[in-house]
């Protein structure tokens, strides 16, 4: 995944240090980590306030990432 590649790498690197806040959300821009925030909306609002129209990533802190299930076969 090329878009947000730096941010994804930052999240994966920092995840072990974030696990005490599981279930909350972090906001990541390049290597900067903000939060954690209780709600996705909080992270999103602060992300746009702080980074404007620049790319940023929001991830829910989870040791085992939630998998979404779709009963239909969708094309990627």
């Amino acid at each position: 995944m090329q878009i947000l590649e730096k941010e994804i790498q930052t999240y994966q690197k920092e995840l072990p240090n974030l696990l005490s806040e599981q279930g909350k959300y972090v906001l990541i821009h390049n290597q900067d980590i903000n939060g954690p925030y209780v709600a996705y909306e909080d992270a999103l609002n602060i992300g746009y306030e702080k980074y404007k129209l620049e790319p940023f990533l929001i991830k829910k802190i989870e040791e085992n990432e939630t998998v979404f299930f779709l009963s239909r076969d969708l094309q990627v």
Binding site: L44, L70, R72
Partner: protein, 146 residues
């Protein structure tokens, strides 16, 4: 709680019309920046209790001109036990009926191809959890309270 009843379509089932836009915080940022604001996008949606999250077709993402804000893992019948990684986007979704509108102003959704199935949005349980949905098979109708 306003509700509406519609006929089940023979091919797809419970379909109804929705409107999508960029998420509210992104809309505010575009306005503050003096950037052009995308038009609302009308779309056909399928109510799908088998989907844990909401999915939109790439054409919607293209029309809204938005970039991803997250990633997610998805399992479909063909992925077996190996989840497919996909980007997620924040959008605003409006369930409209007879002048009433239930907005979801910051909804994270996945982008996967749907349009070939006759609809552009798959409404999953993240949205249905906030509604009352009645599927009346024998009468070939469904009711959604929003």
């Amino acid at each position: 709680m306003p509700h509406f009843t519609n006929k089940l379509t023979p091919s797809s089932g419970p379909l109804f019309d929705v409107v999508l836009n960029v998420s509210y915080p992104y809309l505010q940022q575009l306005k503050a920046n003096g950037s052009p604001v995308p038009s609302m996008v009308p779309a056909r949606a399928l109510l799908d209790t088998g989907a844990s999250g909401t999915v939109v077709d790439p054409s919607i993402i293209q029309k809204l001109a938005i970039s991803p804000k997250g990633t997610g893992q998805f399992i479909t019948p063909s992925t077996a036990n190996v989840p497919h990684q996909a980007y997620t986007y924040d959008i605003a979704l409006f369930l409209n009926h007879q002048g009433y509108s239930k907005p979801f102003l910051t909804l994270p959704v996945a982008e996967l191809k749907l349009a070939h199935q006759g609809f552009e949005v798959l409404i999953g349980r993240d949205v249905l959890d906030k509604c009352l949905f009645i599927y009346d098979g024998p009468s070939r109708i469904f009711t959604l309270s929003i």
